[in-house]
């Protein structure tokens, strides 16, 4: 495709900048995608690729910069605008209406109508049937409601919906993350056909193997900028990794302590945990001062395990021991009580971790309001000094603890979530992908902080989707696969290759073929 540089680009963006509150998401980024090509966009979490495609699809409006579609300067203010220019995005489950049927969802903007102007149901069904058989999505029932479908089928419907709008530019943002290998093949076949018909496809995936299989061209993003574009195969993998992270791996993580940990009573011991179809006989223990990693592909029960420990799951079977004592934990208030002292840093800090409209200070004291109070009234002096302490200790960059936490950058917001638990003197921190969407510098601060926490006697159960973090931080890593602990890795065995092969469910290293998830490294 490299010879086509003189053609008019399907989509072209120059010097796009965008910031949210204090975070710079895009900093004069440029991007150019040829017609009739599949263009992959890769980069670490928070590198700005999602923001860029949200700008293309009218969800986000840039602060500055120029956009061109097929050589024409355009301003895209809404998804409807984008659709008019033929730009159609596929986000994860973002555009499906759960109470509508598959067929209604796909043709919601333009359903077939009869002479009276009413929706013709049989025509709608027939149209969807034809469309699905054309795509090869024959295993999806057009009359099923979205809420009745499993996740993978929803994702296929999402893709089908985008295709039904006859895109000139199709954007797939992690659009294949929930799909099985077979479904991915179906999607790839359709995408290739689209490309051959002259459509451009912008493809974002964290599975490098998929990128290499499907894409023609590749653009790498780092810290809100494009740092390089290549034809697929023209650049070696480690070079790409270097471009993505922009520095040597070793520099990122604070040094690990001596692996020999005191072998006393574990702070946390889990015995035969079972829940629904998601957790299957999980047993492990966590020592004082240890960072224990949880690995595996996203959605293998890691999130549920953290929820289970925090008392959020009903009908949980198995035992949880804290400092050798068997405890019943039936909710966060029990989990945070003295004697158990757990702390959860949840997956989505905006909806689960923070109260966005209220101040940084109010968020920091949320978990300790009662201890800061005397006769039910919050003591101002105590409160201020607590907030002060947390802001300094967590190095939260904020003009004042009185500004709404919403105005902080993602990384500083995450520090507030962690800082909330400093005051409870939590003994075990349950971390759910805490560095997602955080800039590289802040990530490093969070790693340092985790190290400080354990040095001061806390322990951490650390679920991360970034392999390098697990390798760089953990003394042991439990790799989960379909709700089971598939392998436990220790010391020198903790390598990205080993985690990936276990994550994919390979029994031994011999079967290790292609590190599909190694992209995050």
């Amino acid at each position: 495709m490299s010879g086509s540089d003189n053609k008019i680009a399907a989509v072209e963006a120059w010097d796009i900048s965008k910031h949210f509150g204090g975070t710079i998401a895009l900093n004069k980024a440029s991007f150019r995608c040829q017609p009739g090509s599949i263009h992959a966009l890769i980069g670490e979490n928070g590198a700005g690729k999602s923001t860029l495609i949200k700008i293309f699809s009218g969800v986000t409006i840039p602060d500055s910069g120029t956009l061109q579609i097929s050589g024409q300067g355009v301003i895209i203010r809404s998804p409807a605008d984008a659709a008019r220019y033929g730009v159609v995005p596929v986000f994860q489950e973002l555009s499906l209406m759960p109470h509508l049927t598959v067929a209604e969802n796909i043709f919601v903007t333009n359903p077939p109508r009869n002479r009276l102007g009413l929706i013709d149901r049989s025509q709608l069904r027939a149209q969807t049937d034809r469309f699905f058989s054309d795509l090869g999505f024959t295993h999806i029932d057009p009359n099923a409601m979205i809420s009745e479908l499993p996740l993978a089928q929803r994702q296929l419907v999402e893709i089908a919906k985008a295709l039904s709008r006859i895109p000139k530019v199709l954007i797939l943002d992690e659009g294949t993350s929930a799909l099985s290998v077979h479904d991915v093949e179906l999607v790839f076949r359709v995408i290739r056909r689209l490309r051959d018909e002259g459509c451009s496809i912008i493809f974002i995936s964290h599975r490098m193997s998929e990128v290499e299989e499907i894409a023609d061209t590749l653009t790498i993003f780092r810290d809100g900028q494009d740092v390089g574009s290549f034809a697929i195969g023209s650049v070696a993998r480690d070079e790409m990794v270097q471009l993505m992270i922009g520095r040597k791996l070793e520099q990122v993580f604070p040094p690990k302590p001596d692996p020999a940990l005191p072998a006393g009573t574990p702070v946390l011991e889990v015995k035969n945990l079972k829940w629904e179809q998601t957790l299957d006989d999980i047993s492990f223990s966590l020592q004082k001062g240890e960072i224990l990693g949880l690995g595996g592909l996203d959605g293998q029960g890691q999130g549920e395990l953290l929820f289970a420990l925090f008392g959020l799951l009903r009908g949980l079977k198995g035992e949880i021991h804290i400092n050798g004592e068997h405890k019943q934990i039936n909710g966060p208030d029990a989990a945070t009580r003295a004697g158990i002292n757990l702390a959860l840093i949840p997956e989505d800090r905006k909806t689960e971790g923070l109260i966005l409209p209220t101040s940084v200070g109010d968020n920091l004291t949320l978990a300790v309001l009662d201890t800061l109070s005397h006769f039910g009234l919050v003591e101002n002096g105590k409160e201020q000094s607590t907030i002060q302490y947390a802001v300094e200790r967590m190095q939260i960059k904020t003009a004042s603890p009185r500004i709404p936490v919403r105005a902080l950058s993602g990384g500083n917001q995450q520090k507030v979530v962690i800082g909330k638990w400093l005051m409870t003197e939590a003994s075990v921190y349950l971390l759910h992908d805490p560095t997602r969407g955080i800039d590289v510098g802040t990530k490093q601060e969070i790693y340092q902080l985790m190290r400080t926490l354990v040095d001061n006697g806390a322990s951490i159960l650390f679920f991360s989707t970034e392999l390098s973090e697990l390798v760089g931080m953990c003394s042991r890593v439990l790799v989960l696969y379909e709700g089971r602990i598939f392998r436990e890795l220790k010391g020198k065995d903790i390598t990205e290759e080993n985690i990936v092969s276990a994550a994919l469910g390979f029994q031994s290293d011999d079967e290790f073929l292609m590190p599909a998830a190694a992209m995050e490294a």
């Binding site: 209604e104 295993h139 029932d141 077979h182």
Partner: protein, 354 residues
Amino acid sequence: MTTAIHIHSSVPTVSPIRRFVSRNFRVLVTYSILLVLLLLNIQLNAKFFTPPVITSSFNQSMTLIFAGMAQTSVVISSGIDLSVGPVISLSNSLASAVFADGAFGMIGTVLLVLLVGVLCGLINGLIIVYGRLQPIIVTLATASVYSGVALFLRPRPGGFVPRLYGDLLTSRLSAILQPLSGEQKLTGSIFDYIPASAILLVLVLLVVWQPFRRSKLGLWVYAVGSNQGAAYMSGVNVNRAKIAAYVMSGIFAAIAGLFLTAQTLSGDATKGGVFTLQSIAVVVLGGTSLFGGSGGVAGTIAGAFVLPIIRSILFFARIDPLQQPLWEGAVILLAVTAGASRILTIKNRLNLMR
């Protein structure tokens, strides 16, 4: 969410009956309750299946049915309309005033009232959409305005409504058809058992509700209620859909007011007020989720029949009429609590709060 290779079969065959039951479970429960109550009623009252009783049962439920349909249209879009009652009052007052004036004739009056209903709904919708304000507060305020306009038109109860208009909507079909059939007596025929109001209901369903439900705009109202963000992302005109929902509410409330006018043969600017809260109760009884996106008028209609039937059962069971409101309240409370059974099936405590 695995990388294992699945072998796909073709479309999994879900039995249509099972799917129907699982999608309409709450509505079916309401109909079952209605059926049980009906049987109980028949047991207690030998005269239940006589023309006068059937007609009066329908007439007693009809205003509430239309009020409930009004509320249903906006609840589907995950909104709420607290001006349903006042719009009923307004159309009742307007109808009685215009009838008394006599300038528009019967059809003209009906059309005028419907137009005013559309206007009320349109105002609600426009303020909510373009003012970016919460429906509950906007309709609370416009409710006050519409009540005021109703009072302005009819400061005291009264007015003149032609008898013929009342008979057309509230009598039995036999009485209406009698002039057409000449010598033959229709009393005792099948037409004796069909209330005119039932015909009206069917007409409204066919001419107003179904076209709306099956139009693109109707689909959009469901889409917006189901997931507004997704609808917006899909290119649905969210504003237009929301305004449409409130306009539909205005139309149905106007129809309710027109029926109330036929029933009472007079105008009263305060008569409609009670229907605001009752309409919400009926929607919930009918199994439509207040969170929007699902449900419809089928359940609402059943819900609206439940209350008069309870009254009738209590009457024939010789229960002190003073206890009537208590039992009605208990049934409403029970019905809304029944929806709480879902909490038992939720396995993740967080999902209780979302």
